[in-house]
Symmetry: C2
Subunit: 563 residues, 2 copies
Amino acid sequence: MGGGQIERWQSVAARKRSTRESILQGYSKWRLDRVPDADVLDVSELCLSKLTDKEKVIVHHDATELIAAIVSKQYTAVEVLWAFIKVAIVAQDTTNCLTEIFFDDGLTRAEECDRYLEETGNVLGPLHGLPVSVKDHILLKGQDTSTGYILWANKTIADEDATAVALLRKAGAVLYAKTANPQTLLSLETNNNVFGRTLNVFNRKLSPGGSSGGEGALIAAHGSPLGLGTDIGGSIRTPAAFSGLYGFKPSVARMPHAGLMGSQAGMDNMVGALGPIATSARDLELFSRVMLQYEPWFLEPPLLRMPWQEEVAKGKGLPKKLSIAILWDDGVVAPHPPIRAALEEAKAALLAAGHEVLDWQPLNHHMAVWTLICKLYLLDGGKEYHDTLNQAGEPAVPQTAWILSQHTQAYTAAQTWPLNVEREAIRTQVLRYWNETVSRTGTGRPFDAILCPCHPTLASEHDTTRWWGYTSYWNLLDYTAAVFPVGRHQKDHKYDWDLPAARNPTEEYIHSLWDAERYQNAPVSLQLVGRRHDEEKVLAVLDSVEGALKKARKIEESKDERD
Amino acid sequence: MGGGQIERWQSVAARKRSTRESILQGYSKWRLDRVPDADVLDVSELCLSKLTDKEKVIVHHDATELIAAIVSKQYTAVEVLWAFIKVAIVAQDTTNCLTEIFFDDGLTRAEECDRYLEETGNVLGPLHGLPVSVKDHILLKGQDTSTGYILWANKTIADEDATAVALLRKAGAVLYAKTANPQTLLSLETNNNVFGRTLNVFNRKLSPGGSSGGEGALIAAHGSPLGLGTDIGGSIRTPAAFSGLYGFKPSVARMPHAGLMGSQAGMDNMVGALGPIATSARDLELFSRVMLQYEPWFLEPPLLRMPWQEEVAKGKGLPKKLSIAILWDDGVVAPHPPIRAALEEAKAALLAAGHEVLDWQPLNHHMAVWTLICKLYLLDGGKEYHDTLNQAGEPAVPQTAWILSQHTQAYTAAQTWPLNVEREAIRTQVLRYWNETVSRTGTGRPFDAILCPCHPTLASEHDTTRWWGYTSYWNLLDYTAAVFPVGRHQKDHKYDWDLPAARNPTEEYIHSLWDAERYQNAPVSLQLVGRRHDEEKVLAVLDSVEGALKKARKIEESKDERD
């Protein structure tokens, strides 16, 4: 590297990866003797291979249970963290899910938790001792925040924590690792030139989704019980869906959102939300409750002064008979058979549990909405993204190239106003449509929630993601959405449903991908959508939906046993 | 007017005024035999000159009392409306406050209210029979919405009501007139080429403020008990202050806001709020409560799902000892002596009532904030405003010319992002400052509210308004603010305070205007500011502040009597 010349991007990446590697070498005892070849697809069991039996039990607990176990001194915070660290190390070596690693800090903090509990009998906070992982672009004091950009790598050590991170610390959580996000963050896969590509734990030919894909991979591997993600088009929900986890995208400005590194700071025509990825629905509630318990509206100006209604989230006031709408197909890309089958199963289970199930007729505008969303994502024609890549001389990864090709016109300020008007018109149209469903339901209420795919495919094969419509549509509307797992796809499963004829090139491409073998072992997930500011209600309805599914499966199992 | 040529602007204005005149001629019995000459300054008594004694009593009631009196059949809705109509006619002829007049519709509706009550014993809604006036740019079905633009005059008959208007109707209110707003709406005076200039009822050489200046004039004249205004820089508060009324600017998106005609539709870098102008503090609460009772968040996507907390607004949970901060001077333009004196009086009264009063140290950024605000108002360099004037060939009125000169650069979309970042940084700075006041107060809480001028002058002499900082600053922060009257200025009053040396040309200009004679008879008002989403609390604190002032004055009076 000559004087005044910028470092080649490959060299920045190598330096960044070597720093990570040298930290991991301090934990070499917990690394695999041999990292499996690429053709070993499912590494989920391997990720647990360094654990004792007790540690295996530990990493299978959800956050709620872990905290209770630490507080009741069944486990120490230190042994809990060690269990997750051991998994995280193998998960990193097999899926490339971590960016910044600071296990030592985490262990120090875990010791502090244990000592405090021992000495005072009190907890540090409602997340006492809980290990929590954090998506790369979320500021964590003292840690680099390269956010998948070569330009930012090694140059973005955070001076302070993001609000959500500060609140996690206040609540007694233990931070120990940051996780991969894709170049530009504007991707539903996770790949960047700094750290490379992140892989799906259940099938490494597949993506863990994005942009919170490092979280998805790490948590699915049981290398973290709970993680912080962000979502402006599906970036919490897609990783949750692709890895069989729970993900929650609240309405904009309900959860803390300050302290995120990213492009286009100050762009507020379409805004994202921070939320949890977890292994249980109740952990989504736990996270939300704890964040709002600290009245973050007194910390960040944009946040809404809407206290968390724990009782509502836990079902208070929720009618016994729900009216659930199913969006089977958004009119642009019909979902692949396993997802259709999952919706069918859920419908039957809901009906069996006494709920009402009707169709959400897709408004004939999902492609137009996507076109608008791309304009809003790229109001400068993508210039800032391109500039950030070009300044470091790094190439766009394929998913970046694809999304940046979706809109290339740079707008003036005044040209953005009609786009906002269009956005509001769409929001009004859907609001009215939802209101009017009161005339179709038998409950005297409009629909309680919408059940729909999270993505038209199971976990995407790398570089094949082309349709964000099932998630980004709800971002445009600023609706609340939770993703939850319903099963795992196996290649020999027969689905009673064929893909319909393709209606457009996007659908043609996505339908061409359908092959039961390709998606072997991929989780099957669904999405539950509520109205704006319906966070608590969506979680309450999710509990009912999961209850109905569980009950129906029990009946099915007992039938099978009788047969 | 030749074929294909556009109508000259003077002709459009003449047509519009003649339509209004012809409607008024249908009520000639209630017009003055002779409109007083311009040198008759105070027309407030004159406005009541056509009323019976009973009608005089009626128009001096606030909305709360009027509704109660109609519901208890002390008055009919028809006689109430007639009383206000009679005043409105004279107010129009002396202050030019009305735009669209539809007294007949109002009377029909008032009859309907009376009949319904008579026949069913029930009320139509919580505003049963209440006359309400509406600012011109707020859509009212069937009425033109020229909004002070020649281009729009006669061409903007509303297809439907604004949400707030629809809710007023639902609540049983009676609509009968629309009121003047200035050209562009971006003015704290009220003057446009369509209808001309609106005058202050108490001194016609002075402005009633703007942009809801028609409301201010009409309500101050007792030609309406309650009116709908909007505020993006002081447009509810300034008219309320200049006319001795109560005005309430809630945080953005708490009150209905859809259905407003105006320039820059879709510009959301800085957004306004709709709110009431009234003759009592309790009517501000009444209006807010009624609006939110209809859950308008299910009618308009941007609205926040934050139900009105009536009990909080009425003082529940409000500590007995409040900690009030006074912003004496924003560091740019020190207010004129009557306003300073009013703050001094309020301070003494609050202390006497046992409250704590401390100084709000102005952050050294009020001029910078104003510069940012002007950029946000005029992100296209004012092009859309200029175009709307130019397309009709109408000239800018002086206040338009002044505000449009404040920022002339057209930005790209990307150039607006750093402005939003700057806006958020300012919001964060003030949020933190407010939080930190907990260390200065003796209550264990940060300040409960800020008491400050609403404007550096009393009602402006026409075309002299130059400093919006005392109102627009709170818009930028999205804080809640209420304006309330504290007295009336008389030219022979001696103030124990001289204006300090001017610190900048704006202050120099505004201080040059100070002359006790010039502002003869102008109301003196103050502003009470709360944090974002503090609507209910601000009204509760306002009640305490008014209580303290009333008590102090009673003591003062009884002292005077003893002397």
